[in-house]
Amino acid sequence: MIEDKQPVAALEVRGLWAGYDRTPVLEGVSLTVSPGEIVGVIGPNGSGKSTLFKAVLGLIKPWQGETLIFGRSNKNQRASVGYMPQVELVDWNFPVTASDVALMGRYGRLGLFRRPSRMDREAAEEALLKVGLADVRHRLIGELSGGQRRRVLLARALASHPALLLLDEPMAGLDATAQHQLIDILHDLRDEGRTVVMSTHDLSCVSTACDHACCLHGKVIAFGRPEEVLTEKVLSDTFGTHLLTVHLDGKAYAYQHHQHPEPQEKQARRRRP
């Protein structure tokens, strides 16, 4: 399924500057992700996580710098990148089923004027099977649970058999069971040789699920194994607040003191119909 497995980086970002109007969001981001890894990008709101993803996808034009996907410019590599947007930005009342959404993952590679073939339908079904949604594939997306919604977006991203996956906040607002379910799927994908880059606010999720952590705040503050990177110094440089890190079983766990996440969580819950 994955065509080239050369020792080239799955994703290489070099000196990337990007922003909106005249305000820079990314100020010289450089980053190398090896194939077959899960990388967690962490940083506070506005630190440039989504902007970085959009620049990699070619959805916004960077001011400077370049992005290579498997050694080639990102302009002609859309088919090899699977993207999962933040769940809040998706219209869950749109009258399509899980199957329809997974099939949309094939549309880009089909090009204009061509209808999905049996092969495209099979790829979509296979992606739904992989994320454990085969039995709800005929349900409207609005009828899916929070965890299922996340997985249907993942199935859409997987349907084109991308070698690199960019997941924007896949864990946000999920309960522990649903998070673990998603992490298991991501580990399966990694074992197939796929590369996963995901943004998250959840530091413990990076500690437990990711091979590398990338601390982002306009630029890369630190990149490395979670237990090396998630130190008090790096995290306070990234988040600008004091964080307590606890090292346990060789993993780092971080606790935020000064931020109160509950109101935001409640908001997210309220937004679900």
């Binding site: 959805l59 930005l89 749109f94 329809d100 949309m104 549309y107 004027f113």
Partner: protein
């Protein structure tokens, strides 16, 4: 039996059925996107701005239909263009086209003395006076609209569902961003003769809204929307003929009536179902 066949004894009624039918089908197809994407204001605006084209054609002695068509193409494209270039909200650029086109149209038509009768027929439609030439125009527009929706089905669907994901997948989103207002624009022109500038909105939103209440999937919604639109125009024209009602408003009121029925019996949000805990859309989430 006379009740059914009598209108067909009159050539003007035959023409009215054909013209209104074509217009309603095109509106019902495009209306599905309008309702799902919240583009009602855009449809209303393009219809109103088309007065400029109709007025100019009227003053110059040309066909109001072709004048409107010639006007809505740049006007529709301008909506997306202004909003993109000026980084303005879509409804802001829609407002500019709406008011600008309407104002210019009124200025142009006011150059003709005794213009109120003609203005009235532009605003409220006069399908009973439709000519064969106009029917051909309406038919061609409807055919082009339906063919475009068919050919670009997957691009329109994906972009309507989620622009960002569609763009990330390599779907030419920019193309669709210009195509949808254009489709909407030419569709309103096809419908203006039937219900008039002021009531085009009804044919765009009411059949599709009826579809959303009755069925759940995208294509089914479009299908019910088309069926509703056809029933609406036929019944509306019968009522107009037998009760001597103005045709456009009669059609619109039938549409509203069908919508009210759908609202009552809808399986998802119907008034009759309220209280029964069978509402799928509001079913509490199961543990996944």
């Amino acid at each position: 039996m006379d009740f059914i066949t009598e209108p067909f004894d009159f050539a003007f009624m035959q023409r009215a059925f054909i013209a209104a039918g074509f217009a309603a089908i095109a509106c019902a197809v495009v209306g599905t996107y309008v309702v799902l994407k919240g583009l009602a204001f855009m449809g209303d605006a393009i219809a109103h701005s088309s007065l400029t084209g109709m007025a100019a054609a009227f003053v110059l002695g040309g066909s109001a239909f072709l004048g409107a068509l010639a006007w809505v193409v740049p006007a529709s494209l301008a909506i997306t263009y202004i909003s993109r270039r000026g980084r303005l909200m879509m409804d802001t650029s829609i407002g500019i086209i709406y008011a600008g086109g309407l104002a210019l149209g009124i200025i142009i038509i006011s150059r003709v003395s005794n213009y109120t009768a003609d203005l009235f027929s532009f605003l409220f439609g006069n399908v009973l006076a439709v000519s064969w030439g106009e029917i051909i125009g309406i038919g061609v527009v409807a055919a082009v609209v339906i063919a475009t929706v068919f050919i670009f089905y997957k691009e329109l669907l994906f972009t309507a569902y989620d622009e960002t994901m569609a763009a990330a997948s390599g779907v030419p989103v920019r193309l669709v961003q210009y195509m949808l207002p254009l489709l909407l624009g030419v569709t309103t022109v096809a419908a203006v003769k039937t219900v008039g500038i002021v009531l085009v909105l009804a044919l765009l939103v009411i059949p599709a809204a009826t579809g959303i209440l009755l069925v759940r999937r995208f294509l089914a919604i479009m299908g019910v929307s088309v069926a509703t639109a056809i029933v609406t125009t036929v019944v509306g024209l019968y009522l107009s003929f037998h009760l001597d009602l103005p045709s456009g408003p009669a059609i619109v009121l039938v549409a509203v009536g069908l919508f009210a029925v759908a609202m009552t019996v809808s399986p998802s949000s119907g008034i009759l179902r309220r209280g029964l805990a069978s509402d799928a859309r509001q079913r509490p989430f199961e543990v996944s």
